[in-house]
């Protein structure tokens, strides 16, 4: 009985900072319609800045500690403000995917800034003055600080409620959440409103991070781990609802606390189950509303996929011929690089398959790549399976995850889908990371060697080339099959597709599974190629790599992912070799600059340039 009580209290305590972060995310989304990936980075910055400030002010005095925490929150708010003015303001009209990508660029930059400023080691924070003691609850010692956090959650919720319901600013913000254009037409300066909302949201994230100081060591992984949880909270609570965020944070916090008792290794499974139940019962979250169609952000306007022309086919054949004879000309390093490239191409093509024709932009596609790799590695390690069996087990495991995760994801669309896919990827990542007995945790699984006949670098290259080419071509064929057309019909107009008897959800699900399987094969090949697997194969940054490959090449061209994969791999090789240490900073800045320069995407921008020169003088009558 008292164990239950204690665990409930523990859960409530962790719910509070989760709520701070998630409510900020939700508020920002409500008004600006931007899902701010960098929100977790603000949380991490809050913790780091608070650590520095409290160390400087002296953690013994109440003023030093609380002053440091509050100042840290405000400083993070200022950082958010600057980012809004410098970056987001310019891309509010851009497609959602680019907004997400740009804020991910910020994540990368903040990671390197934090690394440079505070170093790679974990930093232990001080305990809060005045709240260091324990209280006794049914004979259990319970930290006072945790009690304080429990109380803080509802207080912040109440304060936010007052702010939004009882002040003019709050009324304007709520109105802007419903129809921001109309608010502007009534004379309200939306820019100011957006910036102030962003400031508030960032402060909340910073506060959430700063308040973690007495609870856990500050480290460089805080950003992505909290953002994944916050995404789950926001999806479960309903995007844009602060109360929903609180309820969801409590639900998830408490379940987490109990999960630790029941299955300490896979607490995330419980989180997953909650999410499942909520989304089945209420697809838009506990307090969420169906997103209104008028308000939806700009979508991509790119040309439709069309089958390859004769020239493209010839070009493809030529490229393939070059790839086939390349090992004769290249050294070992070149062959390795090419092998990796070929595998990445399949990975990118698998993501493109769901993103292009299906319109399902996944922010967690690395999960399936990584699960494929782990499938192969686990089979090799625990079953001593030969390579052939490993390569079969890889897509099996990835496909299984595709079946389960995909079932949820295809019920959502747009940013919701992106957030959910990311959350699933993060769950897969943490299972690989935490379940040390099975996966070796951070140390990964070593000794995943190919069969003797394929052990030679060149032989393995040919194996990868044949398999990947066959699969990429198969995906192409699928895009132009009746299934592919049905998929596109569902993307372009779900209502109309349903009306002509297509089951859009089921079709999207199938596409999701196919994409997962293809990514899994790429992962399996990658595992045998590298000889080892690590949790980083499923990391968010890997998912973003895949997205970048697809976006670089253009979403709505079938050969795009192939070109994109090559361009990306070249870029990364150059980045990592050229500037080993702070490549994240460079890559992040590059992403941000690219999005700022081409807010409509490379292909979209090119089209607009072409369009402008052509359509200047179309007479009105001709258009009608």
């Amino acid at each position: 009985m008292d164990l239950i009580l204690i665990q409930t209290l523990n859960g409530l305590a962790s719910a509070s900072s989760l709520f701070l972060v998630a409510s900020g995310l939700s508020i920002i989304f409500g008004v600006t319609r931007v899902v701010n990936f960098a929100h977790g980075s603000f949380y991490m910055l809050g913790a780091y800045i608070a650590w520095s400030l409290v160390s400087r002010f002296g953690s013994a005095s109440a003023l030093g500690f609380w002053g440091g925490v509050l100042l840290a929150a405000l400083l993070v708010g200022l950082v958010g403000l600057l980012i809004e003015i410098a970056l987001l303001r310019r891309i509010y009209q851009a497609p959602e995917l680019f907004q997400l990508l740009a804020t991910f660029g910020v994540v990368l930059m903040v990671q390197d800034v934090a690394l440079a400023s505070w170093g790679p080691q974990d930093l232990l924070g001080p305990r809060a003055p005045g709240l260091r003691s324990f209280v006794s609850i049914f004979g259990n010692r319970f930290p006072t600080y945790e009690l304080f956090l429990i109380v803080l959650g509802p207080i912040v919720l109440g304060a936010l409620w007052l702010l939004f319901n009882k002040t003019r600013w709050g009324t304007l913000v709520r109105a802007a959440t419903l129809d921001r254009e109309m608010v502007g037409a009534l004379g309200v300066n939306q820019r100011l409103l957006f910036t102030s909302v962003f400031f508030l949201g960032s402060c909340l994230a910073g506060l959430g991070g700063a308040l973690q100081l007495p609870r856990e060591a500050v480290n460089l992984h805080m950003d992505l781990s909290i953002i994944a949880e916050a995404f789950v909270v926001v999806v479960v609570g309903g995007l844009g609802s602060v109360t929903g965020a609180y309820l969801a944070a409590v639900l998830i916090g408490v379940m987490h606390a109990f999960g630790i008792l029941i299955f300490p290794k896979i607490t995330l499974v419980l989180v997953f189950l909650i999410m499942a139940v909520v989304l089945i019962v209420r697809p838009h979250g506990l307090m969420g509303r169906k997103p209104s169609l008028v308000q939806q952000g700009a979508t991509m306007r790119e040309p439709l996929l069309s089958p390859a022309t004769r020239e493209i086919k010839l070009l493809g054949a030529a490229a393939l011929a070059v790839l086939a004879i390349a090992p004769l000309l290249l050294g070992n390093y070149g062959v390795s690089l090419l092998t990796e490239l070929v595998i990445l191409t399949l990975f990118a093509a698998s993501l493109h398959f769901m993103m292009g024709p299906g319109g399902l932009a996944s922010f967690g596609h690395a999960a399936y790549f990584g699960l494929g790799a782990y499938g192969a590695a686990l089979a090799a390690k625990w079953l001593a399976a030969p390579m052939a069996a490993g390569l079969l087990f890889a897509p099996f495991l990835a496909g299984l995850a595709g079946v389960v995760f995909g079932w949820f994801c295809v019920r959502l669309s747009g940013v919701y889908l992106a957030m959910l896919t990311l959350a699933f990827a993060q769950i897969a990542w943490s299972v690989a990371f935490q379940w040390v007995e099975l996966t070796g945790g951070d140390n990964g699984i070593l000794g995943v060697w190919p069969a003797p006949w394929a052990a030679g670098k060149t032989t393995y290259y040919y194996l990868a080339l044949v398999l990947c080419t066959a699969l990429v071509l198969a995906l192409r064929v699928a895009i132009f099959s009746p299934f592919g057309y049905a998929l596109r019909a569902g993307r372009d107009s779900p209502v109309r597709a349903e009306a002509i008897g297509l089951n859009v959800t089921r079709i999207n699900w199938l596409a999701f599974i196919i994409a997962a399987i293809a990514a899994g094969i790429a992962g399996g090949l990658y595992a045998y190629f590298k000889g080892s697997v690590f949790p980083t194969y499923m990391a968010i940054s890997k998912s973003v790599d895949a997205l970048l490959m697809v976006l670089l090449g253009g979403v709505q061209t079938v050969s795009g992912p192939i070109v994109g994969a090559f361009a990306f791999a070249w870029l990364q090789d150059w980045l990592v070799r050229g500037i080993a240490e702070y490549w994240r900073l460079v890559l992040g800045s590059a992403i941000v600059v690219l999005v700022l320069a081409f807010p409509q995407g490379l292909v979209g921008t090119a089209l607009r340039w072409r369009g402008r020169s052509q359509d200047d003088d179309v007479p009105a009558e001709a258009v009608r």
Binding site: R168, T171, L172, A175, E181, M182, G187, A620, V623
Partner: protein, 233 residues
């Protein structure tokens, strides 16, 4: 007070308005008539800046406003009432009015919720009600009241009679005349000729994005040919 010259507006590649020009003098009610899809809403949206015009001059009380942000234009004293009403559905009547509130510009009397409730007595009975729970007519009243809260010197009204029962249409006409008596300048779009006749001093007819007729209301009523060509369905 409001002057538009050589206005061209596009939606993407579609050329919607071609060389639209119009003028509204202080205290005047001018109606823009035209069939569905003629470009009435687009004209009003171009003036308020929601659909920035590609070309053309718009001046309001001597200030050039083409290419400015809607909020800047609104702050100069131009009030816009959209055709789709666009009430903030989850906000109460009072809150909707609050969003529209701006301090007066000096020329017009100050509109307060209390004065607006005299003009729109229905609204007074539902101050705490959410916008989503109001009838179409009530929403139409609220959307006008909300814009008046900004104390505009000139109103852009997009089809105020659309979708309203005949009794309510009459009330609406009375309201506009009342506003005119208060000295308000109004540019409204309409398809309902009788309604237009009841409220307007001058009329413009737009078709396929071009102004085809301009004259007094009386001239239009006398000109059977123009009405048949551009207004009959």
């Amino acid at each position: 007070m409001l002057k538009v010259e050589g206005l061209h507006t596009y939606y993407g590649r579609a050329h919607i308005l071609a060389d639209v020009g119009l003028e509204v003098a202080q205290g005047e009610v001018v109606v823009l008539l035209g069939r569905n899809g003629a470009g009435k809403s687009t004209t009003l949206k171009s003036i308020i800046g929601l659909v920035p015009p590609a070309e053309g001059r718009i001046s309001f009380r001597g200030t050039s406003i083409a290419g400015r942000q809607p909020y800047e234009i609104a702050r100069l004293g131009l009030g816009y009432v959209p055709e789709e009403r666009r009430i903030f559905t989850e906000l109460t009547v009072d809150e909707n009015l609050e969003v529209g509130r701006r301090s007066a510009n000096g020329t017009t009397p100050v509109w307060t919720p209390d004065r607006l409730f005299v003009l729109f007595p229905n609204l007074a009975r539902m101050r705490e009600r959410a916008g989503s729970q109001m009838s179409g007519g009530e929403q139409q009243m609220l959307t006008i009241a909300r814009t008046l809260m900004g104390n505009p010197a000139c109103l852009l009204l997009d089809e105020p009679s659309e979708g309203l029962a005949p009794v309510i249409v009459e009330q609406m006409a009375d309201t506009i005349l009342e506003l005119k008596r208060e000295g308000m300048t109004v540019l409204l779009s309409e398809q309902n000729l009788r309604f237009a006749h009841a409220v307007a001093d001058r009329a413009l007819i737009i078709e396929k994005g071009r102004i085809r007729f301009a004259g007094t209301m009386a001239e239009l009523m006398a000109n059977e040919a123009v009405r048949t060509q551009y207004l009959r369905l």
